[in-house]
């Protein structure tokens, strides 16, 4: 048998930046994502946290789970607060204050990112602040009791998109947040799943090392909201990637790169059937989902392929203009 002792204990930092004794639900995939992300970071980090599950479970006064400097203010302003901290450190250091080199890391859920927090995020990305933004996506407003967000997948049941005689649940397709962020042309965008922990850790490390804005979108299983068993967070995180529903990819300086070659996609049914929030779906709806997932997946694969071809074509056109 291979010597596995070289595996996790040697490769992952032992020290927890986020203490046990936090109040996340049993089997929470989001806190798992958070902890793994912070395994990529050192101590010279300031954490800005939106209102949401991760903030609430970690900060019931007079306690905190955090071993890093941490600030929570409101729901929709994570990126704006992060901008302020980044600017403050920049100014204070330039003016001679004795301060360590810090990286600002902003954490928010899907609601705090693609809905109410979108404006602040867009502004901060446009201004080019040097920070890492991590979106922990559990696909609904979970902390307030499982209400839909724009990140809720098509057909999913939430309390504000229930299934019934006149509704199949969430009636819109999940907002493609990584693409919206990539459209801001920031240096680094990535998607990650905690079930591929080393990939996740690498991406967060890359994000932190990026000079300028970086964004990592992390898939987070919520057994409470998704009505699934408490022990399948890691399994679902693999299935969501293998079915092509949540592809793992990076956009580095505009160049798309798939992190996993999937010669064939697993049927989405394998993923959907494990979750109570999809239990009501008819085979027809599942086929619609299957079709859309495949379409979007292969469109993404195209971007990764001819990205370099497009770049070559464009530059030869420009050269032609200049020489004419």
């Amino acid at each position: 048998m291979e010597n596995f002792t070289v595996y996790v204990p040697r490769l992952i930092q032992k020290k927890e930046k986020f203490a046990p004794g936090h109040r996340a639900c049993i089997g929470c995939g989001e806190v798992l994502a958070l902890k793994l992300a912070f395994k990529a970071l050192g101590n010279n980090v300031i954490v800005v946290n939106a209102t949401g599950c991760m903030e609430i479970v970690a900060s019931q006064l007079p306690f905190t789970s955090w071993h890093l400097p941490w600030i929570h203010t409101l729901f929709e302003n994570t990126a704006a607060v992060a901008s302020g901290i980044e600017a403050a450190y920049k100014a204070m250091k330039r003016k001679g204050r004795d301060l360590p080199d810090v990286k600002v890391v902003a954490i928010a859920g899907d609601g705090g990112t693609s809905d109410i927090g979108l404006q602040a995020l867009s502004g901060a990305l446009e201004r080019g602040h040097n920070f890492l933004y991590i979106c922990l996506d559990n696909e609904a407003y979970m902390n307030t009791g499982i209400q839909r967000s724009s990140a809720t997948p098509f057909g999913a049941v939430t309390t504000t998109s229930p299934a019934g005689k006149k509704s199949i649940g969430q009636f819109t397709w999940k907002k493609n947040m990584p693409e919206i962020v990539a459209a801001h042309k920031i240096p680094y965008v990535a998607t990650a799943s905690p079930s591929y922990p080393f990939d996740l850790i690498d991406k967060v490390a890359k994000g932190v090392a990026t000079s300028g804005p970086a964004y990592v979108h992390i898939y987070s299983v919520c057994p409470t909201g998704w009505r699934c068993a408490t022990d399948i967070a890691v399994k679902l995180g693999r299935l969501v990637v293998e079915t092509g529903i949540f592809p793992l990819y990076e956009v580095e300086n505009g160049k798309y790169k798939m992190n996993m070659e999937l010669p064939q996609l697993r049927p989405v049914k394998d993923y959907l059937k494990l979750q109570g929030r999809f239990r009501h779906l008819s085979d027809d709806t599942i086929n619609v989902i299957q079709g859309r997932v495949e379409k979007e997946y292969y469109e993404l694969v195209e971007k990764t392929k001819d990205g370099s071809k497009r770049a070559k074509r464009k530059s030869s056109k420009d050269t032609a203009k200049i020489s004419a």
Binding site: I12, A19, P20, G27, L32, A58, L61, P223, T230, V234
Partner: protein, 98 residues
């Protein structure tokens, strides 16, 4: 903080309710939440640490023999470790009323 939240006076609170003791949430016992607990067949343990990697509580550590074991003070009994262990060391059993 030595005082419980019900005993803190307004003067005890730090400015803006800032918490100055990092990680003091460690005092909170989440182990009382669970309805099932991990049990171990350590003969099979290859010390890969995958259970530790995937534990959302961060409560799995290595004991004196280097074997990975959950700290029951915090363990909420989700069963992820049992589901992911490659050599099936862990079995979840129902917590019983004592």
């Amino acid at each position: 903080m030595a005082k419980s939240e019900h005993e803190l006076t307004w003067k005890d609170l730090e400015i803006g309710c800032i918490v100055t003791e990092p990680g003091n949430a460690r005092q909170y016992q989440t182990g009382t939440w669970r309805s099932q607990r991990p049990t171990y067949d350590f003969k099979k343990c290859i010390k890969c640490g995958i259970c530790q990697l995937f534990c959302p509580e961060g409560c799995i550590g290595q004991n004196k023999e280097g074997l990975f074991e959950a700290d029951l003070y915090y363990c909420k009994g989700d069963g992820i470790c049992a589901a992911e262990c490659p050599t099936r060391v862990i079995t979840m059993v129902e917590e019983e009323e004592k």
